[in-house]
């Protein structure tokens, strides 16, 4: 019984983490039709920035609780700098190209950013930790379910995932700019003809997506050792999530994250050898049964 509960709790925590990262990916794909491999690098950038800022914070001798603000600040900074730079400086010249070409452009970007991270932060593992070993991970205390102890930090992760999902859903369906965005998704050309500023929509979308990737990274930083290459690991998992759910679908990303999270948690607890295998196996099975993912609308056939 307690193992079942452990799978459930671990799975949900892991799903929340995956969702935060995947939702930015699916948003960018849904609007811009770019499957952004560099999303993994933005996640890593968020993590590294969080390490730097919180290390600085601890070094000043400020109260440890403030390190949470530093995690948030790291995400905001990375999102607001890298998003606009990448979108305005590179991607906007390439709109309208083939989807696969755009994937490769972001792959090139991924390579560039991987080395950029190495240049700035070096290749040694880094930790978010104060002088007395305090970490944001431990600061919030613990909670108990069925005799198992979990850090409250996990609740924060779940809260961030739920809030970002609901906020995006609300913004898309209930606000004026969200509705304009849906129009752009539906038909870019007609929207432009009707006077919607498509360039601005893309700019904002990419920046929000980059911000969400950085949030994922910043929140992960206190829980792991921050190393180069962490982006490569995450991005392919995030691909699995969005592909299972259906590329470009918000609900899809949520369902995909839950499926991947629970499958992986179950594998870790019951059959550790199949941990990685299980995730991609599920991805392949979903793609075989529903090639366009679980949430996908009918598409008009093009000749």
């Amino acid at each position: 019984m307690s193992q079942f509960v452990a799978v459930l709790v671990d799975g949900i925590v892991y799903s929340s983490w995956l969702f935060i990262i995947a939702v930015g990916l699916t948003l960018i794909y849904g609007v811009m039709k770019i499957l952004n491999i560099a999303h993994g690098s933005l996640y890593a950038l968020g993590a590294f920035a969080a390490v730097s800022l919180s290390t600085w914070w601890f070094a000043q001798g400020y109260p440890p609780m403030g390190s949470f603000a530093m995690l948030g600040l790291a995400a905001v900074l990375v999102g607001l700098v890298s998003g606009p730079v990448i979108e305005r400086g590179l991607l906007r010249f390439l709109y309208g190209k083939d989807e696969v070409v755009l994937v490769l452009v972001t792959y090139a970007l991924f390579l560039i950013l991987e080395d950029f991270i190495k240049l700035v932060w070096g290749v040694d593992p880094l930790f978010v930790q104060g002088p007395n070993g305090e970490t944001p991970y431990g600061l919030l205390g613990n909670f108990e379910i069925a005799g198992l102890t979990y850090p409250n930090y996990n609740l924060l992760l779940i809260a961030v995932a739920v809030i970002s999902g609901l906020a995006l859903a609300w913004a898309l369906n209930r606000t004026r700019s969200g509705k304009l965005l849906l129009a752009v998704i539906h038909d870019r050309e007609i929207s432009a003809a009707l006077g919607i500023n498509v360039g601005l929509t893309y700019f904002v979308t990419f920046t929000i997506g980059a911000f969400l990737a950085a949030v994922g990274g910043a929140l992960t930083a206190p829980t792991v050792s921050v190393v180069t290459g962490m982006g490569a690991e995450v991005i392919v998992m995030a691909f699995a999530v969005v592909v299972i759910g259906g590329l470009g679908s918000l609900q899809g990303a949520a369902l995909g994250a839950l499926i991947v999270g629970l499958v992986r948690a179950a594998a870790v607890h019951y059959q550790p050898e199949v941990e990685l295998f299980s995730v991609y196996f599920v991805m392949a099975v979903v793609l075989i049964l529903r090639p366009k993912g679980l949430f996908s609308g009918a598409e008009v056939r093009k000749i």
Partner: protein, 312 residues
């Protein structure tokens, strides 16, 4: 009968490589070896791209070919280079024939993603299989070539020669296939599948066949690489490896079978020199090169040599 100029040039290339090989310094031989292994894999990528498909999981077959060769050596106790390469080809042909049944229905990003999923499944299996060395992989050593036991310099020369001959034969084979009736369907499928069906050809069968051919080329490349490097590990099927193959294919262009071979050589040279002179920024150099090529030379490096850019 008119002799095909590309075939003639490829035969001349093979002769030149074999004659000049013994005179090359060691670093050049290993650069050429790795380039030829990659070149063979990218020949397969080129065939897929001509069909309008991009696989983000071709590392699957590259790795499978290498592990087939390695396992024949380690478990099967057959350490002949030719047998090992053959094992790589047979194993990938079998697996791709099965997976191709599914993949032949997929296009665009969905094809890329499903092939990615398959390659990551193999990765997930390999990193957890202790008997195959998990993430460390294991060492591979060919002891004979065509039944003749060799060692030292003679072995190195033989490995180089077999790699060169295999690569050139693969290139000639692919060139002839592309010129054949079935091979020419690839471009037609990329342009308009419906018309191909209306003209009475089977899109699915052609895509399936091209998929198997490209997988076998990747498997041969992987097996050759295993023998050349002497070590294999699951990284061979991790997604950045597959990305690298797509990268070289884009860099090269799909205009001619020479493009992947030349592209692989350029890629390996850039990587070796970048790695030598700035070990922390070689990926950055590659990334920037790739961006420049995609923006300014959409037809790849080959379009520099070819006046018919539209063909690329």
């Amino acid at each position: 009968m008119k002799i095909d100029r590309t075939v003639l040039a490829l035969v001349a290339l093979a002769v030149a490589l074999l004659v000049a090989g013994p005179m090359f310094p060691r670093w050049l031989v290993s650069l050429l070896n790795v380039s030829m292994c990659y070149g063979t894999v990218v020949l397969g990528m080129m065939l897929l791209m001509r069909t309008g498909l991009v696989s983000f999981g071709h590392g699957l077959y590259y790795c499978l070919g290498a592990y087939a060769a390695g396992l024949l050596d380690q478990m099967g106790k057959v350490s002949d280079m030719l047998a090992m390469v053959l094992a790589g080809a047979v194993a990938t042909a079998a697996v791709s024939a099965v997976l191709g049944l599914l993949l032949a229905k997929y296009r665009d990003i969905f094809f890329a993603m499903l092939s990615l999923a398959f390659s990551m499944i193999l990765y997930g299996l390999l990193v957890k299989s202790a008997s195959f060395g998990s993430t460390d992989g294991f060492n591979v050593a060919a002891k004979t070539v065509g039944g003749v036991a060799l060692s030292g310099d003679a072995m190195r020369l033989a490995v180089y020669s077999v790699t060169a001959i295999t690569t050139v034969v693969a290139a000639i084979g692919l060139h002839l296939y592309l010129a054949s009736h079935r091979g020419r369907l690839a471009g037609a499928i990329r342009d308009n599948e419906l018309r191909v069906e209306y003209m009475g050809a089977s899109v699915r069968a052609t895509v399936h066949l091209n998929y198997v051919v490209s997988a076998v080329l990747a498997g041969i490349g992987g097996a050759l690489m295993a023998v050349n490097i002497g070590h294999i590990d699951p990284e061979m099927t991790y997604w950045p490896q597959s990305g690298e193959f797509v990268f070289i294919a884009i860099l090269s262009g799909t205009g001619s079978v020479f493009a992947p071979l030349g592209g692989a050589l350029v890629f390996e040279s850039v990587r070796s020199f970048a790695y030598e002179y700035s070990p922390n920024t070689w990926q950055m150099v590659l990334g920037i090169t790739m961006l420049l090529v995609m923006i300014f030379l959409p037809g790849g490096l080959w379009s520099l040599f070819s006046r018919r850019r539209a063909a690329a």
